[in-house]
């Protein structure tokens, strides 16, 4: 291990500790703001040491993109009304899902199509997992954003055979995923899988009523953690796995707590169709 690799590894360790402390402190009113600050410092450390990686050479592209992204994120966060916070979180969460989807697709494209290689089985499996969960998180969060902001009807959209349709689509998606794992250089299975995943994100959120949306956003937040975690396996990167698993697991617990607070079970929320009658969220 070179000195550079050592610093990167220790930086990731420090970032992981800061994330754990951050989530812990976020759970108490008196320390919540400090917790968020610790976790932001952890993110800065993780980004900082990643820039030391020997394959990082495209400085112009990276800094230009980060500058634009920072400006958009910052302005959006400052301008949003306090009452619009949940929908803003949903939108940001969707972007996180999109990021995982794009990273995994980029990696598969690079290895299988541009270099003509065949990814190892574990890498191939985690790649499709990352793409699928990332895509579902993206469109699911966009629908949640639409419902919360009133751009999409907040009513539960239910039609007969809905669950059957979702099941058939899910099976087709798994089929396309297996095909893509076996033929990673082929575009058709990749695009098919991606397309169905994007569609499933929409279809699984539209039957859920507006009042249940915060629970759904929390669950989708947990998904984006799992997607990040899968991306960690694709890239063999421990900080992605740790942070992703932390968000995935704690997000699931938070979702349960939120369900309990509104006297609902997670299953009844997800099956949908009840949201508009349950009143307060």
């Amino acid at each position: 291990m070179t000195n550079r690799e050592l610093i990167i590894a220790l930086g990731y360790l420090l970032a992981s500790v800061l994330f754990i402390l951050g989530i812990k402190l976020l759970g108490k009113p008196s320390t919540a703001r400090r917790g968020n600050f610790y976790s932001a410092v952890g993110m800065l450390v993780a980004v900082g040491v990643t820039l030391m990686h020997q394959n990082i050479l495209s400085w112009t592209e990276i800094f230009a993109t980060v500058l634009v992204g920072t400006a958009i994120g910052w302005i959006a966060a400052k301008r949003v009304e306090m009452t619009q916070m949940p929908e803003m979180v949903a939108l940001f969460n969707g972007f996180g899902g999109a990021a995982s989807m794009f990273v995994a697709t980029s990696e598969q494209w690079h290895v299988a199509i541009e270099q003509g290689g065949k990814p190892e089985l574990i890498t191939a499996i985690t790649t499709v997992v990352s793409i699928i969960i990332g895509a579902i998180t993206l469109t699911g969060s966009l629908i949640a954003y639409g419902k919360l902001s009133g751009k999409v009807s907040g009513k539960a959209i239910v039609f007969s055979g809905q669950h059957l349709l979702n099941l058939v689509l899910a099976l087709a998606m798994v089929g396309a995923a297996v095909w893509s794992i076996q033929a990673p250089a082929h575009l058709l299975p990749l695009l098919l899988m991606l397309g169905i995943a994007l569609l499933l994100g929409v279809l699984t959120v539209i039957p859920i009523g507006g009042a249940d949306m915060p629970v759904v956003v929390s669950l989708l937040n947990s998904y984006s953690g799992i997607a990040a975690c899968a991306t960690g396996f694709v890239l063999n990167n421990q900080v992605l796995i740790i942070a992703g698993a932390l968000v995935g697991a704690s997000g699931l617990i938070l979702t349960q707590i939120m369900c309990k607070a509104m006297n609902r079970s997670l299953v009844s929320v997800l099956l949908g169709g009840f949201g508009q009658t349950s009143g307060s969220g």
Partner: protein
């Protein structure tokens, strides 16, 4: 990825998942949204993967790199916006308490 590396990563995954489950116990309802928002910002850790995907071959815009740049843009918005929004919510929360 060799089996040894995979097993090590699997250890990391399982242990981190347990930590994640234990971290949150009793959270007052007022903190639900900030906590969700704060952990959403952490899931923006994909920014690390996005930087790695954007990193190589400066000036050469292959499709994998364009996908990396798209990932980096979305991840950056997620991270910066996520932390800023969470901080704004918590700021308000503090004022309310006083």
């Amino acid at each position: 990825m060799d089996t040894q590396t995979f097993i090590t990563l699997l250890y990391v995954l399982i242990l981190a998942t347990f930590v994640g489950f234990e971290l949150i116990t009793k959270v007052p309802p007022t903190l639900h949204t900030p906590l969700m928002s704060g952990s959403n910002a952490i899931s923006g850790i994909t920014i690390v993967g996005a930087i790695l995907a954007t990193g190589p071959e400066p000036g050469d815009f292959s499709i994998s790199k364009i996908l990396g740049i798209a990932a980096l843009l979305f991840a950056t918005i997620n991270v910066v916006g996520g932390y800023a929004v969470t901080d704004r919510m918590l700021q308000m929360f503090k004022k309310k308490k006083k």
